[in-house]
């Protein structure tokens, strides 16, 4: 039976460098795959809502018409399921953990005005095209009826 056989290990520790990093003074290092927080490249988002349906904790909400994407960082469990589900691949898992806060709040991302305007114009154009096609169809039908 040994007595005090921890002494060599303890003495060795006295002369070793600290194992921990003095975090606020030194920056924290994260590996490439680290699941820190979700980032969205909002201008690529099509507002399909796949991420909100996938989220196990219900932390996300999307408004297609207003062009906004909301995340409650306190509800998010950083599982990465939304990143996997996003059809446009505009969600990313980034390094660095969520910072502490004094109150629970959601973070809202809105599309830039240019993108919103472009989308609006596109929608208008599509609507005009549809209306024109409808009118053409109606005219064709009317022409066919008059022929009869």
């Amino acid at each position: 039976m040994a007595i005090m056989n921890f002494v060599p290990t303890a003495l060795k520790n006295l002369f070793l460098k600290p194992v921990t990093t003095s975090y606020p003074l030194e920056p924290a290092e994260y590996p490439e795959r680290s699941r820190g927080h979700i980032r969205i490249s909002i201008d690529d988002c099509i507002g399909c809502g796949m991420c909100t349906r996938a989220c196990p904790s219900g932390a996300l909400s999307v408004n297609k018409n207003a062009g906004t994407w909301e995340i409650n960082r306190f509800d998010c469990v950083v599982c990465g399921y939304c990143v996997e589900k996003c059809p446009k691949k505009c969600l990313f898992m980034e390094k660095g953990y969520r910072t502490p806060d004094t109150q629970k709040a959601t973070e809202t991302f809105t599309k830039s005005p240019e993108v919103l305007a472009a989308e609006e114009a596109k929608r208008k154009e599509a609507a005009e095209k549809a209306a024109a096609a409808k009118a053409a169809m109606a005219a064709k039908k009317a022409a066919e009826e008059t022929k009869k």
Partner: protein
Amino acid sequence: MKKRSIVPYGPQHPVLPEPVHLDLVIEDEKIIEAVPSIGFVHRGLESLTAKRDFNQMVYVTERVCGICSFGHGFGYCEAVEDIMDIEVPERAKYLRTIWFELSRMHSHFLWLGLLADGFGFENLFYQCWRIREKILDVLSLTTGGRVIFSVNKIGGVMRDITPEMAVAISEMLTSVRKELKDIVPIFMEDASVKRRLVGVGVLSKEQAHELGCAGPFARASGIEIDMRKLGYAAYKDLDFDIITSNTGDSYGRCYVRINEIFQSIDIIRQALGKLPDTELAAVVKGNPKGESFIRIEQPRGEAIYYVRANGSPHLDRMRVRTPTFANLAGLCETLKGADYADVGLLILTIDPCISCTER
């Protein structure tokens, strides 16, 4: 004249990592009987099956516990894959085995540290946790999370271990093995440590069998039971023996867990050497219909997963039987006749994970 009294122990107690309450009937410092009660951290995760679909439940089950997290996600995936008859690619099976063994290693290091803390050896406690940190670093390098990996999905895994990562794991294993060898004599041979462990909380083989104990707790009493021998994931291709001890006391439990760390190192090395080159995940179509019952070996013992599905995205029932629940009966038996001062240590020797037990 001996006097009986009842001492409430827990749920808030410095030695307890998680909340469990024991009513200890004592007679002068000796425990006559212990009555456990749990239910302080119940979160209703099993009932979430009604609200979350079967893919989301992978993430829910992973969050049942912070230490055996990988095992829970893995067991649930195995059960659903069994229902849906999915053939998981070989590489995914090996990767799952590697991550499972890494999490077993860090869980056992955590336990060794808590044990050292339990018998009042603060410095040894920090030594164990310092070594554990190396494993967590490798886990966060390969999966992105320190204890909750989120790499499992129905049909396989989401992330791969690249050759550089395999080298990092291998180097970590070498250094952990060396450092563990340095501290093993302190646990196994030091006079003061042995006094706290040898002959404390003896549970005979018959008692352990009758009370249905699981995992290292049962193996320390000489029961040769290890669910990994069932051959799920890649364990069927890997060579390992069941580690048992015949002492049945706290010393035996410490011996079994220390040797299981060495065994895990060996298993990971074998798995890394044999890593096949296939897809990471099988394609999954449709919803599960049927029921399945899976037994796996968690760091704390045998865990059982029962899943019943009805063909819709929402499961009918998901049930987890955790090893700590099985071991609570054994714990109460070991407490009988123990000194009051040993209660904290004895609770630690079953490696309690109350969050798993209550879900």
